[in-house]
Symmetry: C2
Subunit: 204 residues, 2 copies
Protein backbone atom coordinates (compact mmCIF):
# COMPACT_ATOMS: atom_id res chain seq x y z
CA UNK A 1 0.00 0.00 0.00
CA UNK A 2 1.13 3.52 -0.68
CA UNK A 3 3.07 4.90 2.25
CA UNK A 4 1.25 7.49 4.37
CA UNK A 5 3.78 10.06 3.16
CA UNK A 6 2.17 9.88 -0.23
CA UNK A 7 -1.21 10.90 1.10
CA UNK A 8 0.43 13.78 2.88
CA UNK A 9 1.31 15.25 -0.51
CA UNK A 10 -0.74 18.09 -2.02
CA UNK A 11 -3.67 16.34 -3.58
CA UNK A 12 -2.97 17.74 -7.04
CA UNK A 13 0.42 16.09 -6.96
CA UNK A 14 -1.11 12.81 -5.83
CA UNK A 15 -3.64 13.13 -8.58
CA UNK A 16 -1.03 13.81 -11.24
CA UNK A 17 0.96 10.74 -10.22
CA UNK A 18 -2.06 8.46 -10.02
CA UNK A 19 -3.46 9.75 -13.29
CA UNK A 20 -0.20 9.12 -15.09
CA UNK A 21 -0.02 5.66 -13.55
CA UNK A 22 -3.60 4.92 -14.57
CA UNK A 23 -2.81 6.02 -18.13
CA UNK A 24 0.23 3.79 -18.26
CA UNK A 25 -1.31 0.73 -16.63
CA UNK A 26 -4.54 0.85 -18.57
CA UNK A 27 -2.67 1.36 -21.83
CA UNK A 28 -0.05 -1.36 -21.39
CA UNK A 29 -1.27 -3.61 -18.59
CA UNK A 30 0.80 -4.30 -15.53
CA UNK A 31 3.62 -6.21 -17.20
CA UNK A 32 3.98 -3.81 -20.09
CA UNK A 33 3.80 -0.64 -18.05
CA UNK A 34 7.04 1.24 -17.47
CA UNK A 35 7.73 2.92 -14.18
CA UNK A 36 10.38 5.04 -15.84
CA UNK A 37 7.78 6.33 -18.25
CA UNK A 38 5.44 7.21 -15.40
CA UNK A 39 8.07 9.20 -13.55
CA UNK A 40 9.27 10.95 -16.67
CA UNK A 41 5.72 12.01 -17.49
CA UNK A 42 5.02 13.29 -14.00
CA UNK A 43 8.47 14.73 -13.40
CA UNK A 44 8.73 12.89 -10.11
CA UNK A 45 12.18 11.52 -9.45
CA UNK A 46 12.70 7.81 -8.99
CA UNK A 47 13.89 8.34 -5.45
CA UNK A 48 10.67 10.11 -4.55
CA UNK A 49 8.58 7.48 -6.25
CA UNK A 50 10.13 4.75 -4.17
CA UNK A 51 9.77 6.96 -1.17
CA UNK A 52 6.00 6.93 -1.72
CA UNK A 53 5.47 3.40 -2.98
CA UNK A 54 7.17 0.14 -2.13
CA UNK A 55 7.22 -1.18 -5.66
CA UNK A 56 5.57 -1.19 -9.02
CA UNK A 57 2.98 -3.65 -7.73
CA UNK A 58 2.29 -1.35 -4.85
CA UNK A 59 1.55 1.52 -7.18
CA UNK A 60 -0.60 -0.72 -9.35
CA UNK A 61 -2.52 -1.92 -6.33
CA UNK A 62 -3.22 1.65 -5.32
CA UNK A 63 -4.38 2.69 -8.76
CA UNK A 64 -6.60 -0.36 -9.00
CA UNK A 65 -8.05 0.12 -5.54
CA UNK A 66 -8.94 3.70 -6.35
CA UNK A 67 -10.74 2.75 -9.51
CA UNK A 68 -12.67 -0.03 -7.81
CA UNK A 69 -13.62 2.31 -5.00
CA UNK A 70 -14.78 4.95 -7.44
CA UNK A 71 -16.84 2.32 -9.22
CA UNK A 72 -18.54 1.16 -6.05
CA UNK A 73 -19.11 4.75 -5.09
CA UNK A 74 -20.73 5.70 -8.39
CA UNK A 75 -22.84 2.57 -8.45
CA UNK A 76 -23.95 1.65 -4.95
CA UNK A 77 -24.58 -2.07 -4.71
CA UNK A 78 -26.29 -2.86 -1.43
CA UNK A 79 -26.62 -6.49 -0.41
CA UNK A 80 -30.13 -7.43 -1.51
CA UNK A 81 -32.71 -7.40 1.23
CA UNK A 82 -35.16 -9.71 -0.44
CA UNK A 83 -37.51 -12.24 1.06
CA UNK A 84 -37.97 -14.31 -2.01
CA UNK A 85 -35.66 -15.83 -4.64
CA UNK A 86 -37.04 -14.03 -7.69
CA UNK A 87 -36.73 -10.67 -6.03
CA UNK A 88 -33.23 -11.50 -4.85
CA UNK A 89 -32.03 -12.31 -8.32
CA UNK A 90 -33.74 -9.32 -9.86
CA UNK A 91 -31.84 -7.02 -7.55
CA UNK A 92 -28.58 -8.72 -8.42
CA UNK A 93 -29.33 -8.35 -12.10
CA UNK A 94 -30.03 -4.66 -11.65
CA UNK A 95 -26.71 -4.20 -9.85
CA UNK A 96 -24.80 -5.96 -12.56
CA UNK A 97 -26.49 -4.02 -15.33
CA UNK A 98 -25.72 -0.70 -13.70
CA UNK A 99 -22.10 -1.71 -13.19
CA UNK A 100 -21.63 -2.81 -16.77
CA UNK A 101 -23.17 0.40 -18.06
CA UNK A 102 -20.73 2.45 -16.05
CA UNK A 103 -17.83 0.37 -17.32
CA UNK A 104 -18.91 0.81 -20.89
CA UNK A 105 -18.91 4.54 -20.28
CA UNK A 106 -15.41 4.55 -18.74
CA UNK A 107 -13.25 2.55 -21.10
CA UNK A 108 -10.02 3.34 -19.31
CA UNK A 109 -11.27 1.80 -16.12
CA UNK A 110 -12.62 -1.11 -18.13
CA UNK A 111 -9.19 -1.66 -19.68
CA UNK A 112 -7.53 -1.60 -16.29
CA UNK A 113 -10.02 -4.07 -14.87
CA UNK A 114 -9.70 -6.34 -17.86
CA UNK A 115 -5.95 -6.47 -17.39
CA UNK A 116 -6.41 -7.18 -13.72
CA UNK A 117 -9.07 -9.84 -14.24
CA UNK A 118 -7.02 -11.72 -16.75
CA UNK A 119 -3.69 -11.45 -15.01
CA UNK A 120 -4.65 -11.12 -11.41
CA UNK A 121 -3.51 -14.40 -9.91
CA UNK A 122 0.01 -14.14 -11.31
CA UNK A 123 2.38 -14.22 -8.37
CA UNK A 124 3.62 -10.71 -9.01
CA UNK A 125 0.20 -9.25 -8.36
CA UNK A 126 -0.77 -10.84 -5.10
CA UNK A 127 -0.71 -7.44 -3.49
CA UNK A 128 -3.12 -5.96 -6.00
CA UNK A 129 -5.17 -9.13 -5.91
CA UNK A 130 -5.42 -8.86 -2.18
CA UNK A 131 -6.33 -5.20 -2.10
CA UNK A 132 -9.08 -5.59 -4.67
CA UNK A 133 -10.41 -8.72 -3.05
CA UNK A 134 -10.83 -6.79 0.14
CA UNK A 135 -13.24 -4.59 -1.77
CA UNK A 136 -15.07 -7.35 -3.60
CA UNK A 137 -15.01 -10.59 -1.69
CA UNK A 138 -16.74 -9.50 1.48
CA UNK A 139 -19.60 -8.13 -0.55
CA UNK A 140 -19.90 -11.33 -2.52
CA UNK A 141 -19.67 -13.44 0.62
CA UNK A 142 -22.37 -11.39 2.30
CA UNK A 143 -24.59 -11.59 -0.72
CA UNK A 144 -24.18 -15.35 -0.96
CA UNK A 145 -25.00 -15.63 2.74
CA UNK A 146 -28.07 -13.45 2.27
CA UNK A 147 -29.17 -15.60 -0.63
CA UNK A 148 -28.72 -18.74 1.37
CA UNK A 149 -30.71 -17.32 4.26
CA UNK A 150 -33.80 -16.86 2.12
CA UNK A 151 -33.36 -20.09 0.19
CA UNK A 152 -32.24 -18.46 -3.05
CA UNK A 153 -28.82 -20.14 -2.96
CA UNK A 154 -27.96 -23.77 -2.33
CA UNK A 155 -26.36 -24.72 0.96
CA UNK A 156 -25.13 -28.19 0.07
CA UNK A 157 -21.70 -26.96 -1.04
CA UNK A 158 -19.03 -24.94 0.78
CA UNK A 159 -19.70 -21.24 0.36
CA UNK A 160 -16.03 -20.84 -0.63
CA UNK A 161 -16.56 -23.10 -3.57
CA UNK A 162 -19.69 -21.29 -4.69
CA UNK A 163 -17.89 -17.98 -4.40
CA UNK A 164 -14.91 -19.21 -6.40
CA UNK A 165 -17.18 -20.45 -9.17
CA UNK A 166 -19.24 -17.26 -9.16
CA UNK A 167 -16.04 -15.21 -9.41
CA UNK A 168 -14.95 -17.32 -12.36
CA UNK A 169 -18.27 -16.95 -14.09
CA UNK A 170 -18.28 -13.26 -13.34
CA UNK A 171 -14.83 -12.74 -14.78
CA UNK A 172 -15.75 -14.62 -17.94
CA UNK A 173 -18.98 -12.66 -18.31
CA UNK A 174 -17.31 -9.33 -17.57
CA UNK A 175 -14.65 -10.01 -20.14
CA UNK A 176 -17.15 -11.22 -22.72
CA UNK A 177 -19.37 -8.21 -22.16
CA UNK A 178 -16.65 -5.57 -22.01
CA UNK A 179 -14.66 -6.81 -24.94
CA UNK A 180 -17.35 -6.25 -27.54
CA UNK A 181 -18.93 -2.93 -28.40
CA UNK A 182 -22.38 -3.08 -26.88
CA UNK A 183 -25.65 -1.53 -27.84
CA UNK A 184 -28.14 -0.92 -25.11
CA UNK A 185 -30.78 -3.57 -25.78
CA UNK A 186 -28.12 -6.22 -26.23
CA UNK A 187 -26.47 -5.25 -22.99
CA UNK A 188 -29.63 -5.74 -20.98
CA UNK A 189 -30.36 -9.06 -22.63
CA UNK A 190 -26.83 -10.30 -22.12
CA UNK A 191 -26.78 -9.27 -18.50
CA UNK A 192 -30.07 -11.05 -18.00
CA UNK A 193 -28.67 -14.21 -19.56
CA UNK A 194 -25.51 -13.98 -17.49
CA UNK A 195 -27.30 -13.63 -14.20
CA UNK A 196 -29.67 -16.38 -15.22
CA UNK A 197 -26.76 -18.74 -15.64
CA UNK A 198 -25.37 -17.81 -12.27
CA UNK A 199 -28.76 -18.33 -10.74
CA UNK A 200 -29.14 -21.76 -12.25
CA UNK A 201 -25.64 -22.80 -11.15
CA UNK A 202 -26.02 -21.89 -7.51
CA UNK A 203 -29.73 -21.81 -6.75
CA UNK A 204 -31.07 -24.20 -4.14
Amino acid sequence: MARPRFHALPSERQGAILDAALDEFSAHGFAGASLNRIISVTGVSKGSMYYYFDSKEDLYADVLRRQVERLFQDVPLPVPEATEADEFWNIIEGHYLRLMRLLVATPQTAALLRDWLTGAASPALREAQHSAEQATLPWLAETVAAGQRIGAIRTDLPADFLIAVLLGMGQAMDTWLIIRPLTEPELAADVHAAIDMMRRAVSA
Copy 2:
Protein backbone atom coordinates in the same frame (compact mmCIF):
# COMPACT_ATOMS: atom_id res chain seq x y z
CA MET B 1 6.09 -21.51 -32.96
CA ALA B 2 9.52 -23.10 -32.67
CA ARG B 3 11.38 -22.87 -35.95
CA PRO B 4 11.71 -26.12 -37.91
CA ARG B 5 15.46 -25.99 -37.23
CA PHE B 6 14.74 -26.75 -33.63
CA HIS B 7 12.98 -29.99 -34.47
CA ALA B 8 15.92 -30.95 -36.65
CA LEU B 9 18.07 -31.07 -33.52
CA PRO B 10 18.95 -34.38 -31.88
CA SER B 11 15.92 -35.17 -29.78
CA GLU B 12 17.92 -35.37 -26.55
CA ARG B 13 19.04 -31.79 -27.05
CA GLN B 14 15.47 -30.73 -27.78
CA GLY B 15 14.38 -32.55 -24.66
CA ALA B 16 17.04 -30.92 -22.50
CA ILE B 17 16.02 -27.46 -23.64
CA LEU B 18 12.29 -28.04 -23.25
CA ASP B 19 12.77 -29.69 -19.86
CA ALA B 20 14.79 -26.77 -18.58
CA ALA B 21 12.19 -24.37 -19.94
CA LEU B 22 9.39 -26.35 -18.30
CA ASP B 23 11.25 -26.24 -14.99
CA GLU B 24 11.73 -22.51 -15.23
CA PHE B 25 8.23 -21.62 -16.43
CA SER B 26 6.42 -23.88 -13.99
CA ALA B 27 8.55 -22.62 -11.11
CA HIS B 28 8.28 -18.90 -11.81
CA GLY B 29 5.42 -18.45 -14.26
CA PHE B 30 5.85 -16.72 -17.58
CA ALA B 31 6.65 -13.24 -16.29
CA GLY B 32 9.06 -14.42 -13.61
CA ALA B 33 10.92 -16.91 -15.77
CA SER B 34 14.38 -15.93 -16.95
CA LEU B 35 15.56 -16.86 -20.39
CA ASN B 36 19.13 -16.31 -19.30
CA ARG B 37 18.64 -18.89 -16.57
CA ILE B 38 17.29 -21.39 -19.06
CA ILE B 39 20.21 -21.02 -21.42
CA SER B 40 22.75 -21.11 -18.63
CA VAL B 41 21.23 -24.34 -17.29
CA THR B 42 21.16 -26.01 -20.68
CA GLY B 43 24.46 -24.57 -21.91
CA VAL B 44 22.80 -23.37 -25.08
CA SER B 45 24.06 -19.99 -26.21
CA LYS B 46 21.67 -17.10 -26.53
CA GLY B 47 22.33 -16.88 -30.25
CA SER B 48 21.27 -20.48 -30.74
CA MET B 49 18.22 -20.03 -28.57
CA TYR B 50 17.00 -17.18 -30.71
CA TYR B 51 17.90 -19.19 -33.74
CA TYR B 52 15.41 -21.85 -32.60
CA PHE B 53 12.68 -19.69 -31.10
CA ASP B 54 11.36 -16.28 -32.05
CA SER B 55 10.98 -15.06 -28.52
CA LYS B 56 10.35 -15.96 -24.93
CA GLU B 57 6.63 -16.23 -25.66
CA ASP B 58 7.38 -18.55 -28.51
CA LEU B 59 9.32 -20.89 -26.25
CA TYR B 60 6.56 -20.70 -23.64
CA ALA B 61 3.93 -21.50 -26.24
CA ASP B 62 5.89 -24.55 -27.31
CA VAL B 63 6.38 -25.84 -23.78
CA LEU B 64 2.72 -25.29 -23.01
CA ARG B 65 1.53 -26.93 -26.20
CA ARG B 66 3.64 -30.00 -25.45
CA GLN B 67 2.22 -30.36 -21.98
CA VAL B 68 -1.36 -29.95 -23.16
CA GLU B 69 -0.78 -32.48 -25.92
CA ARG B 70 0.73 -34.94 -23.46
CA LEU B 71 -2.27 -34.47 -21.21
CA PHE B 72 -4.78 -35.13 -23.95
CA GLN B 73 -2.72 -38.11 -25.04
CA ASP B 74 -2.58 -39.65 -21.58
CA VAL B 75 -6.27 -38.99 -20.94
CA PRO B 76 -8.28 -39.43 -24.11
CA LEU B 77 -11.41 -37.32 -23.96
CA PRO B 78 -13.68 -38.21 -26.86
CA VAL B 79 -16.67 -35.99 -27.52
CA PRO B 80 -19.53 -37.77 -25.79
CA GLU B 81 -21.72 -39.85 -28.08
CA ALA B 82 -24.73 -39.89 -25.85
CA THR B 83 -28.38 -39.91 -26.78
CA GLU B 84 -29.68 -38.59 -23.51
CA ALA B 85 -28.78 -35.73 -21.19
CA ASP B 86 -27.90 -37.76 -18.10
CA GLU B 87 -25.58 -39.98 -20.04
CA PHE B 88 -24.00 -36.96 -21.71
CA TRP B 89 -23.20 -35.30 -18.41
CA ASN B 90 -21.95 -38.52 -16.86
CA ILE B 91 -19.40 -38.89 -19.61
CA ILE B 92 -18.28 -35.29 -19.15
CA GLU B 93 -17.90 -35.85 -15.44
CA GLY B 94 -15.79 -38.93 -16.07
CA HIS B 95 -13.53 -36.99 -18.39
CA TYR B 96 -13.06 -34.21 -15.93
CA LEU B 97 -12.34 -36.55 -13.05
CA ARG B 98 -9.68 -38.39 -15.03
CA LEU B 99 -8.08 -35.14 -16.07
CA MET B 100 -7.96 -33.78 -12.54
CA ARG B 101 -6.46 -37.02 -11.25
CA LEU B 102 -3.69 -36.79 -13.79
CA LEU B 103 -3.04 -33.17 -12.91
CA VAL B 104 -2.85 -33.96 -9.21
CA ALA B 105 -0.26 -36.60 -10.09
CA THR B 106 1.83 -34.20 -12.21
CA PRO B 107 2.19 -31.05 -10.14
CA GLN B 108 4.66 -29.44 -12.49
CA THR B 109 2.19 -29.54 -15.33
CA ALA B 110 -0.49 -28.34 -12.95
CA ALA B 111 1.67 -25.36 -11.98
CA LEU B 112 2.29 -24.51 -15.60
CA LEU B 113 -1.38 -24.70 -16.43
CA ARG B 114 -2.34 -22.65 -13.43
CA ASP B 115 0.02 -19.90 -14.53
CA TRP B 116 -1.36 -20.06 -18.01
CA LEU B 117 -5.00 -20.09 -16.93
CA THR B 118 -4.58 -17.10 -14.71
CA GLY B 119 -2.41 -15.04 -17.03
CA ALA B 120 -3.42 -16.26 -20.42
CA ALA B 121 -5.22 -13.28 -21.86
CA SER B 122 -2.45 -10.83 -21.06
CA PRO B 123 -1.31 -9.32 -24.33
CA ALA B 124 2.16 -10.80 -24.08
CA LEU B 125 0.80 -14.31 -24.22
CA ARG B 126 -1.49 -14.18 -27.18
CA GLU B 127 0.74 -16.61 -29.00
CA ALA B 128 0.57 -19.17 -26.21
CA GLN B 129 -3.11 -18.44 -25.78
CA HIS B 130 -3.67 -19.14 -29.40
CA SER B 131 -1.66 -22.32 -29.53
CA ALA B 132 -3.36 -23.81 -26.51
CA GLU B 133 -6.79 -22.72 -27.64
CA GLN B 134 -6.25 -24.65 -30.81
CA ALA B 135 -6.02 -27.72 -28.61
CA THR B 136 -8.88 -26.91 -26.27
CA LEU B 137 -11.49 -24.74 -27.87
CA PRO B 138 -12.44 -26.94 -30.79
CA TRP B 139 -13.05 -29.80 -28.41
CA LEU B 140 -15.20 -27.65 -26.17
CA ALA B 141 -17.09 -26.25 -29.14
CA GLU B 142 -17.74 -29.72 -30.50
CA THR B 143 -18.87 -30.95 -27.14
CA VAL B 144 -21.25 -28.04 -26.70
CA ALA B 145 -22.62 -28.70 -30.18
CA ALA B 146 -23.06 -32.38 -29.38
CA GLY B 147 -24.86 -31.48 -26.17
CA GLN B 148 -27.13 -29.10 -28.02
CA ARG B 149 -27.95 -31.71 -30.63
CA ILE B 150 -29.37 -34.10 -28.06
CA GLY B 151 -31.06 -31.41 -26.01
CA ALA B 152 -28.60 -31.52 -23.12
CA ILE B 153 -27.48 -27.93 -23.62
CA ARG B 154 -29.60 -24.83 -24.14
CA THR B 155 -29.73 -23.25 -27.58
CA ASP B 156 -31.25 -19.89 -26.66
CA LEU B 157 -27.86 -18.21 -26.21
CA PRO B 158 -24.90 -17.82 -28.56
CA ALA B 159 -22.61 -20.82 -28.29
CA ASP B 160 -19.66 -18.42 -27.94
CA PHE B 161 -21.17 -17.02 -24.81
CA LEU B 162 -21.82 -20.45 -23.32
CA ILE B 163 -18.28 -21.47 -24.12
CA ALA B 164 -16.81 -18.35 -22.53
CA VAL B 165 -18.80 -18.93 -19.37
CA LEU B 166 -17.92 -22.61 -19.27
CA LEU B 167 -14.25 -21.73 -19.67
CA GLY B 168 -14.53 -19.28 -16.80
CA MET B 169 -16.25 -21.81 -14.57
CA GLY B 170 -13.73 -24.43 -15.57
CA GLN B 171 -10.80 -22.20 -14.73
CA ALA B 172 -12.24 -21.36 -11.34
CA MET B 173 -12.98 -25.00 -10.60
CA ASP B 174 -9.59 -26.17 -11.82
CA THR B 175 -7.87 -23.62 -9.66
CA TRP B 176 -10.01 -24.41 -6.65
CA LEU B 177 -9.45 -28.13 -7.07
CA ILE B 178 -5.73 -28.01 -7.85
CA ILE B 179 -4.82 -25.54 -5.17
CA ARG B 180 -5.82 -27.70 -2.22
CA PRO B 181 -4.35 -31.10 -1.42
CA LEU B 182 -7.05 -33.56 -2.33
CA THR B 183 -7.95 -36.96 -1.01
CA GLU B 184 -9.65 -39.32 -3.39
CA PRO B 185 -13.25 -39.32 -2.13
CA GLU B 186 -13.26 -35.54 -1.88
CA LEU B 187 -11.97 -35.20 -5.39
CA ALA B 188 -14.78 -37.27 -6.85
CA ALA B 189 -17.40 -35.42 -4.85
CA ASP B 190 -15.97 -32.01 -5.79
CA VAL B 191 -15.79 -32.93 -9.44
CA HIS B 192 -19.37 -34.10 -9.29
CA ALA B 193 -20.46 -30.82 -7.74
CA ALA B 194 -18.49 -28.82 -10.30
CA ILE B 195 -19.99 -30.58 -13.29
CA ASP B 196 -23.39 -30.30 -11.71
CA MET B 197 -23.06 -26.56 -11.59
CA MET B 198 -21.98 -26.41 -15.20
CA ARG B 199 -24.91 -28.58 -16.13
CA ARG B 200 -27.38 -26.36 -14.34
CA ALA B 201 -25.94 -23.23 -15.91
CA VAL B 202 -26.13 -24.38 -19.50
CA SER B 203 -28.70 -27.14 -19.65
CA ALA B 204 -31.73 -26.65 -21.84
